[in-house]
């Protein structure tokens, strides 16, 4: 069913429910709404085809004569977008607001899983708007949201509600992990937003997010500068924005640069090792590795072959390597100091 002109009144329901003009519904009043960054496309298609199966719940505000959403925020957004003029809705009796809020919340919980931000907003409203005690939250509401009953989890979710909008959107969309968000909470708002922009630009996976954040945090502490300033560094911005290369390559290059700055001495040793490896001119099927972080003095050489000829070639390359002056250099770097 499409939104043709005679259907602009909204779906036909079996029960006698009031028809409310859509313009009388205050879509900006989120007092009782926890829905955040909803995905509307599939709902839109469904409503356009078969209408609303479950009428929203509204509360009339006597002072203004307008309606507040108790439940059905997404449905109402879609109806508005589809050009409906009226909606058939349940009208909530003038119960206290907490009851209405919990009714809406549990309707949501019964039909879909809430994203992280929605859970944090729900808890934030219960604590702030409805002034529930910590004990009540821990006993009833945290478990109802599937979050257990650990006070630390409650504190974390309450803090998440205070994140800036762009960060919350990434969190709701699953682009930022909760672990990363938790770390972001320790940063200043400017640093958080700068990091959020970097995440969006480089499309980092969750492990990389953690790694980037930890590198940036350490570099900012070491350099006594903010992450925001660090990310404004021309060398970094040019890598982040380089139009010549694809995003994953940009991310790789930024990562390498950050590692280089965080671990300059290890990076120098690794460069030196690579230089010497080049001088050794090893064929592709011989691979040479140093001990992890150059902690030991052993090197490991791996030969990969699938024919007698390849093995013989490797043998020849090994003999040449044993005679090479680059080998002496290689063995000597183990004993080199660094300033």
């Amino acid at each position: 069913m499409s939104a043709s002109s005679e259907q602009k009144k909204g779906p036909i329901m079996p029960m006698q429910l009031p028809e409310i003009p859509l313009e009388a519904v205050d879509l900006r009043d989120r007092t009782l709404v926890i829905t955040y960054a909803p995905e509307l496309q599939s709902l839109r298609e469904s409503i356009a085809r078969v209408g609303i199966q479950q009428p929203p719940i509204l509360q009339k505000i006597p002072r203004s004569g307008r309606y507040r959403i108790v439940c059905g925020y997404k449905r109402l957004l879609v109806l508005e977008a589809l050009g409906f003029e009226k909606v058939i809705a349940h009208l909530a009796s003038a119960e206290n607001e907490l009851k209405l809020f919990l009714r809406g919340l549990h309707e949501n919980l019964g039909t879909r899983s809430l994203n992280v931000v929605e859970k944090s907003l729900a808890l934030d409203k219960l604590a702030g708007q409805f002034r529930l005690s910590r004990e009540e939250m821990l006993k009833d509401h945290l478990p109802a949201l599937g979050l257990g009953s650990d006070p630390k989890t409650l504190d974390l979710y309450l803090s998440l509600a205070r994140l800036e909008e762009p960060i919350k959107q990434d969190l709701a969309a699953g682009k930022i992990s909760i672990a990363t968000a938790q770390q972001l909470l320790t940063l200043s708002p400017e640093d958080r937003l700068a990091f959020g922009k970097l995440l969006t630009a480089l499309v980092l996976g969750k492990n990389r997010q953690r790694e980037f954040l930890s590198l940036l945090r350490d570099l900012s502490l070491k350099g006594k500068t903010s992450i925001n300033e660090l990310l404004g560094d021309p060398q970094i911005t040019s890598l982040v924005q380089d139009p010549q290369v694809q995003v994953p390559i940009r991310a790789k290059r930024v990562r390498e640069l950050l590692i280089r700055r965080r671990y300059p001495r290890l990076s120098r040793a690794a460069d030196e090792f690579e230089e010497i490896k080049k001088k050794l001119r090893l064929p592709a099927h011989l691979s040479l590795t140093a001990s992890p972080f150059f902690e030991g003095q052993d090197y490991r050489l791996t030969i990969t072959f699938r024919s007698r000829e390849q093995l013989a070639a490797a043998q020849k390359a090994l003999a040449a390597m044993a005679e090479s002056s680059a080998l002496a250099e290689l063995l000597e770097i183990t004993f080199r100091d660094q300033e």
Binding site: D218, L221, R265, L266, F293, E295, G296, T334, Q338, E339
Partner: protein
């Protein structure tokens, strides 16, 4: 500034030792401090739950308990590095100082200051331990899971142990400290069988990382008092911290050692670079956000513990060793938990294994 006199905010007493003389002595010392009798140490641990910083709270609470395990243990050392064959006398655990790098922050299952009251068991275990291996020589110390002297004015372990070791020919006692609490040592009969040693560091490191510990100068003045009282003296530069300007600062400490103590009296000087169990990093960052030690170039070593990039530590060890040897080439310098490679690179030789290092250290203090 000396070490502040310790006074717990709360005392937990395990029921089974509440009437032992040591317990009574401690309770008499702090008559106005609230006391709670517990049947198990775990009850005291539970009381710290909900504290914003249970480790800090643990340092203000004293648990007087019964040592149920052995009082004497081998120092656990670390995998794939050469350790020195030390024995730990576990008469107390935890410490009232709060060094940022202290491994006890992540190590203790009972995060309270804990002292064991069944001292008769301690002495009996020492008797049987030292008489069982008459041919062997043992270096034992109380300063691995605590600071040996920080709480000694209250606990009095030195007064018990120093005279005990005075007539032992197959063992030496080491009291390792950062404090200046040596008053009680002055009149003790020690017969040269106790080494009093100080953990030293560069002054900026002391100020930033060793919270509650006195400055190096005061530690060295205390060392001088002990030297004058005839004790052998040890020094431990551990953990060495790499930061811009470390050379100048550490060199100054080396100079100061020799201004305070005759090299002849020095049993040993050990060098150890910053390293810690991996899980400690998170604790350091959380509890000591102003500390920069975790920002060094540290990587997992062969034991999985983060330690400085090898060339960094080698260089630090080599420099310190050189400065020490410039003062007296005969001072025995050893590395704490290092690889054979680092020994050779830094000091030009290596004991090769624990047994040899242990023997060399024994030689320094055998009667």
């Amino acid at each position: 500034m000396g070490t502040e006199i310790f006074r717990p905010q709360k005392i937990f007493v395990e029921r089974s030792i509440r009437d032992l003389p040591f317990t009574r002595k401690l309770l008499d010392r702090w008559p106005s401090v609230p006391v709670q009798i517990v049947s198990q140490p775990q009850q005291a641990v539970d009381a710290l739950r909900g504290e914003p910083d249970p480790i800090a709270a643990g340092k203000r609470s004293l648990l007087i308990a019964r040592q149920r395990g052995p009082f004497i243990k081998r120092c656990p050392g670390t995998k794939n590095y050469i350790c020195c064959g030390y024995r730990i006398i576990n008469a107390a655990t935890n410490c009232d100082l709060d060094c940022t790098y202290c491994i006890l922050q992540g190590y203790l299952t009972i995060p309270l200051l804990t002292v064991y009251a069944n001292l008769d068991d301690l002495m009996a275990q020492l008797d049987s331990f030292l008489s069982s291996g008459q041919d062997e020589f043992y270096r034992l110390g109380t300063g691995e899971l605590t600071d040996s002297l920080s709480l000694d004015p209250s606990f009095g372990h030195a007064r018990l142990l120093v005279p005990y070791f005075a007539d032992k020919s197959n063992a030496i006692l080491e009291l390792k400290t950062k404090t200046t609490n040596v008053e009680d040592l002055m009149d003790l009969e020690h017969a040269g069988r106790t080494v009093v040693s100080w953990s030293l560091n560069a002054e900026p490191v002391v100020r930033k990382e060793e919270h509650g510990a006195p400055p190096v100068k005061e530690r060295l003045q205390a060392a001088r008092r002990c030297y004058r009282a005839g004790y052998r003296i040890g020094f431990h530069f551990d953990p060495l911290i790499d930061y811009p300007g470390w050379e100048e600062d550490y060199r100054r400490v080396v100079e100061a050692i020799f201004q305070h103590v005759d090299p002849q009296a020095i049993a040993w000087i050990s060098l150890g670079a910053l390293r810690y169990p991996p899980q400690l990093e998170e604790i350091i960052r959380r509890r000591h956000p102003q500390s920069e030690i975790v920002l060094g170039e540290l990587f997992p070593g062969k034991d999985g513990k983060p330690r400085y990039f090898r060339p960094i530590r080698t260089r630090m060890f080599r420099k310190l060793n050189t400065w020490i040897k410039e003062h007296d080439p005969d001072v025995f310098v050893y590395l704490c938990m290092e690889s054979d490679l680092v020994w050779r690179q830094a000091l030009g030789w290596s004991p090769g294994n624990m047994a040899r290092l242990s023997r060399l250290l024994d030689e320094r203090v055998k009667p």
